[in-house]
Symmetry: D2
Subunit: 481 residues, 4 copies
């Protein structure tokens, strides 16, 4: 089965019967009907349906080089700048369907896997590395339109610079055994978003490996024996889309992934027991350029939505005449157009890599990822500063169905909206920035590509400043001793 | 009955049977047992109990000049700097009991009323003004330890600078009739915090009155005929103090107050139908210095709590070695000590006003209120920047009671805390900054004394800069044309 | 004479004998030898020489459509995106020659005039408008490679919003008479940069005209009868390029332009006495897109230079290991790459305007101009924060030639530079950010395209937000009343 | 001779014939007549004269406990809070005379020495320590009203964290020999402000000593054999107080201090060759509380002056109606009142130390010193943002004396000032923030008490956060493992 529909996705997830724990209870029955998951599963299904929608299917899919059938464009290994533009169009089409709220819509993981596959040759001839497994799994995923999550952060036990775990039982997941069938993994990993509602989970190392047992990459089905997903509290506010326009639909859940002596079959192992590869693969592969290209494309749509919300508030209570209001909105516009310019430049400056794939310009995307985590929280602040008391006057759907409706209609009316519509807009603004869902979105964007302090350091070290230093040296006729 | 106990408070509120609407349903039965109110009512009752606690009663009460019985110190009309220090000690004692989370603990409103009473003479001899009613009501409230809320903001219909309401039916509450018995009020007011769980509601004008029917001041019992409190959604996360250490206890609720032809008896009318008084009383009275002194005292305790939370996070995951972490904490320390210095200076620079009361220095307190709304949101940002993924790994109390507890114990342990304590700390940090309760606290502090942009303008205009301009003119020997 | 050489420029300026006043003295003799002007005139001459340098002449010039001779590319009316790229290459070639320090290198004014010429048709058929004069003057300037300055700001008498000048004698320059020969202008204009060292001065209105006598556009020779340039203090530190590497070369001077009943001949009048045109021409013409494209291209080179200086400081005193240093540099990198992305996007999104010229995308360039005035001052702050005491230990060239040289050599040596080179670098950093020249550069960039507060408002109003508001309305199914 | 007059000071400095190098030339003749020094020497002399001015002498002096004669209050060892208030009054009296521009007016160094003397007992019984020499020198300085400078920073060769100097010849000043007469010092120290125009120079260690030869404390006459002061470029703009109202009077000069085998007589050695003391004395002594109390008192006066300048600009060009202008000024007011509150709290919370002296509260003053370096640069930014083009239209005194005066009078007039006064105000604003003098002032305040990043870290580590952590632990009932 190539590109799937929403129903395909739902059926498959329900059948997996993944081991998911939430609020002290194991999920039983169809997970697609569980209050914490049904909204996001439905929204995810709607994405898959767009692959068969006559209006959008050409934007969403291409013909598999293997089978000639329609497969998702997020799997496309780009070879031209045009391919990058196509990829962006697809990502933004999906993002518009959830206003950029789903950081882990399937295109993200498809891109991760595509990047791995496009860099598999890096592993050739290296000890305990199986590039062919990556390639095969990539093709399998593409042709079956698998949904996936991933995990690459160790538990946050001790974040001192030179921490070395020395507990008897593993905390951070590690390879504890290898058998004829595969490697055996024990321990935990943080934070698989959508953990438990995807077909597969991809586990790999993001560098910083000091014990080679902690270094590995593989993918296994979410219902593998011994695999458990422990959820945080659900941030779904409730079923009402009036009350919770976002959390009722887009709450993706984050999970701790417990590997309780999980067997990873050999044909799913990408590498293990190789410290050098564990620490270098992510950086040397096209992981960063491709996933950043996807992420930034989505963040643009999200920023557009924020701008729409902000302007809706302004119109509703008629505050556009204030200079400080204009200035605050202009901050968002500047950020939006900056992100658009960066993604465009990453495409224009893209180059063919050593394996023939068109990589978007990494430096340019690094700029975006050093920018967005700083501006997005400011957006939420702006919404609070403009919404003010309006964000505290938010009665619920049932209030509008009750006897006090007349009061609400009269006293919550506004310049350009009736009371109900005004409350809808302010509830949306609240769900975007002040509900548990909204603040988790903010935290997610703050940390999307890691600690902002470290991202800045990485940019400092990776950016080539020599030409500019030389220009200064030439101007002054000085030289180093 | 002088200073009351917690039970007195609860019984009285339950008996009132105020007309309170939440989520489309009218509260029936005891409001002190309603899920949305029971936590905060219990916390408020605990405050009253401190008035009879042997350890604290001397800090909490003084002898009524009228009856010689113990009454709350927040009612004390200060005549010396020592009285101000006593008032601060009382306020901070109560604040420590809720970590400054209850912005409307009764001392706030007691202070408001005390300030009105201390400025009542301003109204003497003015048309439609009844200063004696203020004095009488103040004494009645003090001797009966009434709980109160207030309301002075008009509905947010249209915030353009020159908006003039012209709807047929009143939106902003106004006097629509006067009868032998009193004045009749119709329309709504925003946002009475604790609306519905206090004995009385004080309504007055905060300036900006353009139609004199909108200008008035009075207090009426919360269960007055025609008075309705329409609640926003409740931000109580649930009963579990493990899960919701703050919202389960301190969620004060905000309400829209509907006056449906409410009769205000003449002996409760402070002023009405007097445009000049409606626009000047708040500014000319000691309202600002006294309430700011209370508010800043509370905010100091809240900031101490934030600092405790931040340092607890740092210890838990062992990140104190990072310079940027040190810098972030130092921002909080700077803010805390600045607030302490300002409240101290407001007391040292306090002066006896024309009616013999010791007013804390208003300018100094204006500085505090121009500072806190800018730093408090930064505190919440710092918590998110330091807590990072830890704020997404927050399983619930029931998870710790379930079969996955062993997983949690192993994988959520940290440098200096076991898993359960670590989760308690991070859930507290989350409830403080990321839950619906926490973000409402942030919004509350942002806007505690009004729009920050306007507060800055007010400071600019009220601050006396002449001496410094003169110094420049003397230095340059220039003069104005 | 088409594209000129440096000597041509110098000879022509010297011959003009413009009426220039500095420090209470009129410039007599060759202005190219005057201490306040010789450095910048020489640097400007060097720019013209690049038009004949074999290495650069193809980047610098194109063949005149009129004469087939080489003329400067900054005069090129672009018809393709390729033309825009060519224009940028030319601008950046010149900018590299002065590290972006000359905000008014001739390409800026050439661009202004080219934009006017490309929009001349806007004036067709309008009262008191002479589009053909613009076209003729543009061709004349191009074919003679005229140097120019401009002036469009009224004296800063009273910046209240509704100021209307009512002095007897004009303050802001206005048309006081019209004769057979032309219009007569009296009053002053601020701030002609390079005033007095250019062939011509272009005067026009930038909107905000409330008295139609203040509205006009024309160009006249700098030595016109009655025209005076009154200079501010010179910021040339001295002749030594060791001591003043920037101000000795690039100090462009700002002048108040006094029109003392200056006759503007009819064939040089572009428009006058037409309020509507005076207030709309600048906005409707291609002035903004073309000049911003030039300015942003230059600012990129300047930012590269700043980055080179910062990195040189870091290398010199070996501070790259500090995270806060890395973070500060990364701010500059982010700004630099953002500016590059914006100028690229302005070219990619360029469109043919109604008169057949390829306009860079104005919105994108507005983003740049809302960004640079905020980041450039931060660059100078970063330099001060990193240079620290090194910026106070800056002995002069003569100190290195004296007996204390041995002391300097020993005590000012650094990790990677000998003492003399270290001092050169720190003196450059100082001249860039802390000398009178450097701070004027900062002020210049802050205000390059006007008051940043107004620029933000303009962006707010001109940016089309409707699609995003509609997306919100569709998502919520709400509509305006 | 007790408290001196200005003439006493000048005569003494002229007689010393210190070895001062500036711009490659040694100062010969009277230094009080040298263009780079005459202004500041005159301003300093004016300070001393205030000690004999009938209006101010009681604020300036007290009776010496040794001789009963009038000596400067900055020498007073405070024993009561009243003494601290007196000290502040004296400091602010002097500061008003130079608008806080002289960071090293003699009260600063007098305070340093007083602090050392008040902590001399710390050195008792320690190896190579001579507390009696401190006491004697303190008394000698007080009774003779010596002027002093100090130096405690090593040359900025390599600022990596673990730098250890290994050059053959010393770079950082160190003890290279000890003889019967004293210790011999060779090498250099940065940055003695007022170096060469004071009677004495005090050299000591501020911690971070890794080679004990670099650790010492002593005071020697400025004209000691082998001692050289190498100046940076002078930032005196010229003699005209119209043109350079600040730099012509208050440019204090910074010097590199070269010790060319300088003999320090034993009776002037405070300690040497004692690593522990070299690294701990500054921190354990009352140096920080007393000098910060002086510094913050001065910074308050400087801030008042800045506020006066800002308001003068606003009045001049009539921009007070703009909300962003109001907001910017309010930032300055907030900073000013915050500084005032902090210095007051440092006095109210002062405590008697182990040797009987009243120490202002150090933590409170640390807050001030973590605040001012961040706000002062913002003040200069605000001045630039409000002054705008007015800061570029600054003709000189001679221009007003020339034929163009009529132009200036007409075209530079403003709402509330004639042209000349307006230019005076803008030139002052420029000299305060944009001249080489002004930017050096900014750098000076940025780094007055060291690297702001390190100051924040110190605050983090020294501040007692335990009570607040405990409050959190009690609230949650958690404890450390």
């Amino acid at each position: 089965m190539p590109a799937i529909t929403g129903d395909d996705y739902i059926d498959r997830i329900d059948e997996l019967k993944n081991n998911v724990w939430i609020d002290g209870k194991q999920v039983t029955g169809k997970i697609s009907e569980h209050p914490a998951f049904k909204g996001v599963i439905k929204s995810q299904a709607a994405l898959y349906d767009l692959q068969y929608d006559e209006m959008t299917k050409d934007v969403m899919t291409y013909l598999s080089p293997l089978t000639g059938k329609q497969v998702g464009i997020s799997y496309l290994q780009p070879k031209t700048q045009g391919d990058l533009v196509k990829r962006r169009a697809m990502v933004q089409q999906w993002a518009r369907s959830n206003n950029g709220m789903m950081g882990r819509s399937p295109d993200y993981m498809n891109t991760v896997l595509m990047a791995f596959a496009s860099s598999a040759k890096l592993l050739e001839g290296k000890e305990n590395c199986f590039p062919e497994n990556i390639t095969k799994f990539y093709e399998y995923a593409r042709e079956n339109d698998l949904s996936m999550t991933h995990t690459f952060i160790d538990p946050q036990v001790n974040r001192t610079q030179f921490y070395f775990e020395d507990s008897e039982e593993p905390i951070a997941a590690k390879v504890v055994d290898r058998t004829e069938k595969g490697i055996v993994v024990k321990g935990a990993r943080l934070l698989a978003t959508q953990g438990g509602i995807t077909d597969e989970i991809l586990a790999f190392s993001a560098g910083g490996v000091v014990d080679k047992a902690n270094g590995f990459a593989f993918s296994i089905p979410s219902n593998s024996e011994g695999l458990r997903f422990v959820c945080r509290e659900s941030f779904v506010g409730g079923d009402s889309v009036f009350n919770y326009p976002l959390s009722s639909r887009f709450e993706e859940m984050d999970t701790i992934v417990v590997f309780d002596n999980v067997l990873v079959p050999w044909d799913r192992v990408f590498y293990y027991d190789n410290m050098e590869v564990s620490n270098s693969f992510m950086g040397a592969s096209s992981f960063q350029p491709f996933t950043l290209h996807q992420a930034v494309s989505r963040q643009i749509i999200k920023t557009e939505f924020v701008l729409g919300v902000v302007q809706s508030i302004i119109d509703t209570i008629n505050i556009s005449e204030y200079q400080h209001v204009q200035e605050k909105v202009s901050e968002i516009i500047v950020a939006l157009e900056t992100m658009k310019a960066l993604v465009m430049k990453s495409e224009v400056d893209a180059q063919i890599d050593e394996w023939g794939f068109m990589r978007p310009d990494r430096t340019t995307l690094q700029i975006a990822i050093n920018t967005f985590p700083r501006v997005y929280p400011r957006f939420t602040e702006i919404i609070q500063l403009l919404g003010a008391s309006g964000l505290m006057s938010i009665p619920t759907e049932d209030a509008f169905k009750s006897r006090v409706r007349a009061d609400l209609d009269q006293y919550l009316q506004s310049k350009s909206r009736n009371a109900e519509d005004r409350v809808r807009i302010f509830r949306l603004a609240w769900d975007l920035t002040m509900s548990s869902f909204g603040t988790r979105e903010t935290l997610y964007e703050r940390y999307f590509f890691g600690d902002p302090v470290k991202l800045a350091s990485q940019l400092y070290f990776s950016y080539d400043k020599r030409e500019y230093v030389k220009r200064v040296e030439d101007f002054l006729a000085v030289k180093k001793v």
